[in-house]
Amino acid sequence: MIIISNAPFDPGALLTAFQANHPEAGAAVTFTGMVRSTLDRPITALILECYPELAQNEIATIRAAAIARFNLIDAAILHRYGRLVPGEPIMQVMTLASHRQAAFDGAQYLMDYLKTDAPFWKQEETAAGTEWVEAKAADDTARDRWGQ
């Protein structure tokens, strides 16, 4: 399942639906990314721009690679775009596998690739205006640890 959407979602309901009807699965891992505002850097919103058609294609490629590499039973990715306020979930990655290591590794792999290879761009909205979030070299390093 791949969902690119500007609508809010319920992380728990999404997980319950994803886990249903897989008696062969022994492990489920979920990562939910959330909009963060800190005392150091308070933001009023995060605005995500997206190229939906490309996102669908790229995420499908990343998902298929994760399923093949970690022998996952299933993997699902939901990513939002539009204007989100602090505390709201931005995205969720879920994996199902026979055992926990594959489920954890698959979720990490998906997250590392989504950060650098899925066409989304974040803009932080503060009292002073909006500013594009800069890509982090650490995200490239995290992705590159998986090799090709």
């Binding site: 990314g33 995500l48 721009e49 997206c50 190229y51 058609e53 490309l54 669908q56 294609n57 790229e58 990513h79 931005i90 995205m91 997250m111 989504l114 950060k115 650098t116 290879d117 899925a118 066409p119 989304f120 761009w121 974040k122 803009q123 594009w132 979030v133 800069e134 890509a135 995200d139």
Partner: protein, 83 residues
């Protein structure tokens, strides 16, 4: 040929895209970027560090050496910050 710009590149150019008709010698995406930059000072400045950009052809990310044709849609993608 349709060109799409995203995020801060779109903002710096003040438009989301262009329709262009490159000359016959523009055969690859790399040729296209060279040609676009030569004809657009704002794009040339915004792409001063070209290797940070990924390029897509018809909604697939492809290498810069990929051949292109008139009917293609090409997007110039600044470093992505999703997740």
């Amino acid at each position: 040929m349709k060109i799409l710009y995203f995020a801060w590149l779109r903002e710096r150019l003040n438009r989301a895209g262009d329709d262009v008709s490159p000359p016959a010698e523009v055969k690859t995406l790399a040729d296209l970027i060279t040609w676009l930059r030569a004809n657009d000072e704002a794009l040339d400045l915004a792409m001063a560090n070209p290797k940070q950009f990924k390029l897509s052809k018809n909604a697939r990310i492809v290498p810069w050496e990929t051949p292109i044709a008139d009917a293609d849609t090409v997007a110039i993608l600044p470093p992505m910050t999703g997740g």
